[in-house]
Symmetry: C2
Subunit: 200 residues, 2 copies
DNA sequence: TCGTTGACTGTTCATTCGACCAGCGAAGCA
DNA sequence: TGCTTCGCTGGTCGAATGAACAGTCAACGA
């Protein structure tokens, strides 16, 4: 393996470990030593590749939010009302499956979104704003929001309803006996979400 | 003030500060020194009244989840279908208002619920299990869950959809321009939630 | 082939963490 | 009034933190 390939592979291992750690314990409670151990490297190497813990967090956020792009199916450009409703349902199902496979996204959002600081503003401008305008456009969940002013409420209702059960999977298992990581449970949640947000 | 009163008042100030701190930064990232500073006492006093950080967290969780009790209106015992639907709507509205006023509950749940450890199990058995069986009973959001097996999914959809926007209020302001702490926004979210979970 | 670059290691630094403890002084009791 | 209790302070402990550093050695370019 060339030096450049080795460098990229190592950086990738660190970012992957960082995503898991930050999602698991939040930014402040994650240590660069723990991340290094998960990636199988030394702690000094983490600050070598990513100057600071903050820079590493941005790299991790960029990667995990980037996964969302391309996962959601395109909404039809010109279609009948019925077709648009069917497409909206399929978008919602796709999002639920994504949230089940990557609960990290939800944890990054909640961890950063509750503080009015630089990391929150960076996340909004870099990762969230481009998605938000598309999700709330007509044909997405625009069918849920009765008027334009309700779009932010529909957006957070959709994200929260679709993600929480997977974000607190251990609690869900203990409280309800349902393991939300099982495929049957994921599909059941997708069914409920589609029916909730795009009723017959 | 008597010695007992002074003791209780001090303990209460510490618990209040702990709720804010734990909700703000999670358990691991909160320090007993920061909590002590918020409460206006010394750090040593925190471990004096509450033997450990873990004990303090349990006291804080007991208080904040206890607030939820008595906040939700009772569901009618014997009522017509229309009355039960109206009651379910009012329960949902009440929960949204509570989530807006106390986003700490959501943060406690997400912070503890993602790890399979003692704190999660304690939270489930002490604070969540009693509520869960009542919320998912007929007349609550039972109208949402088509069958018994869908109840856990409806439960987490309701909590997530009703809480997230308030839990990430700074992000919501930055992303959408909507301030979810304003009364008008709270009522708008309550409207959407009632319509979503108990449609016409 | 030889000098240079750069990925990586191991150590060190000041700071902060939860927990512990000796001592103080006013409230409460006899 | 004198003694005891106990809420509370201030300091200290080892452990863990993010960052910085000099040193090492193989990959690379001239």
């Amino acid at each position: 393996m060339s030096r450049a390939e080795q460098r990229d592979a190592t950086r990738q291992r660190i970012v992957d470990a960082a995503i898991t750690a930050f999602a698991d314990q939040g930014f402040a409670a994650s240590s660069t030593r723990d991340i290094a151990a998960r990636a199988g490297v030394t702690q000094g190497l983490v600050t070598y590749h990513f100057d600071s813990k903050d820079t590493l967090w941005r790299a991790a956020a960029t990667q995990i939010f980037g996964l969302l792009v391309g996962t959601l199916p395109d909404r039809p450009r010109r279609a009948s009302n019925a077709e648009r409703r069917a497409a909206a349902r399929e978008q919602i199902r796709a999002y639920v499956r994504f949230a089940a496979e990557h609960p990290e996204v939800f944890h990054f959002m909640v961890d950063a979104g509750r503080h009015d600081d630089d990391r929150m503003r960076w996340l909004v401008q870099t990762c969230l704003a481009p998605r938000f305008s598309e999700i709330t456009a007509d044909g997405g969940i625009g069918s849920v929001a009765a008027d334009r002013a309700a779009a932010p409420h529909a957006y957070y209702a959709l994200l929260g309803a679709g993600s929480l059960i997977f974000a607190v999977a251990p609690e869900c298992r203990e409280l309800t006996g349902v393991d939300p990581t099982r495929r049957a449970a994921i599909e059941r949640h997708a069914d409920l979400m589609a029916q909730l947000f795009v009723p017959d």
